[in-house]
């Protein structure tokens, strides 16, 4: 590891050439970054849910109408759906072969996108309508 004394690049950055797929390391990086963010966001969201348990319909809407719970929910929903899309993509690439492969990958994006948009729509509707 004496090269690390001279080079400012990380070992990952100094890996030579591209693999046959020409891409893939960004999946790992995005997975790691979204995972680290989700440790905080998911914990925060669970804590927020615990405060919502004692509230009724109007109480829940009032809480989600405030900026901090709304933004926390939006961040959690967006980062979680992004993270789950990458994760499911790995599962599909590992186990699905042949003709079903492309359809499964497309369905994965559609599902994650639909869940994300549904959550965004709901939170914005609570806040502004």
């Amino acid at each position: 590891m004496s090269e690390s004394d001279k080079s400012l690049r990380s070992p990952l950055g100094r890996a030579r050439y591209l693999g046959s797929a020409r891409r893939g390391s960004q999946d790992a990086w995005l997975t790691h970054v979204s995972a680290a963010a989700l440790v905080v966001l998911a914990s925060g969201f669970v804590l927020m849910l615990l405060t919502l348990l004692s509230k009724d319909y109007n109480g829940v809407r009032a809480e989600l109408g405030h900026p901090f719970p709304a933004i926390l929910t939006l961040l959690f929903a967006l980062v979680a759906t992004f993270h789950m899309h990458i994760g499911m993509r790995s599962i599909i690439l590992d186990y699905v072969h042949g003709h079903a492969r492309e359809w499964a990958l497309i369905a994965n994006i559609c599902f994650a996108g639909a869940v994300a948009l549904a959550c965004v729509y709901a939170v914005l509707r609570i806040g502004f309508v």
């Binding site: 348990l53 809407r61 499911m88 042949g98 549904a118 709901a122 609570i126």
Partner: protein, 136 residues
């Protein structure tokens, strides 16, 4: 697999190196595959999150329908499973992040981290549900 399909011709049947049949089943192995399985479960369970938020954004009867489901025995069972899957996957993810950084691959850390993931998942689930029952 289509054998006459030009896009994906079936591969010739060659012998594979053995995998599942020969490895001793270890806790680290179980936590790794459990990480993937809980991830897939959470993927489906995201629908529950979307349903909750959409129900809250609609009228009171839509929210009452969601409330009725989530408070039923079946609903609570699903929610409990979802909570456990969340914490199991979260702790497993932390374990994988630690190992991806290069740490914790030797004895005894390797086994200890796997045990901490499994035990921690159950503990966090029970703690959160105990708090939930206390505050509702």
């Amino acid at each position: 697999m289509a054998s006459s399909d030009p896009i994906s011709p079936s591969p010739a049947a060659r012998p594979l190196s053995p995998h599942l049949g020969i490895y001793r089943f270890t806790l680290t192995m179980a936590m790794s595959i459990g990480h993937r399985i809980t991830g897939a479960g959470l993927y489906v369970g995201a629908l529950l999150l979307a349903w909750f938020l959409l129900a809250a954004s609609m009228d009171a009867s839509a929210f009452a329908y969601f409330s009725g489901f989530i408070q039923s025995f079946f609903g609570r069972l699903i929610l409990f499973g979802f909570t456990w899957a969340l914490f199991q996957h979260l702790l497993g993810g932390v374990r994988h992040l630690i190992m991806d950084a290069g740490y914790g691959m030797d004895d005894p850390e390797r086994e200890q981290m796997a045990q901490a993931t499994l035990i921690g998942g159950f503990v966090l689930t029970l703690v959160v549900w105990a708090i939930g029952y206390a505050v509702r």
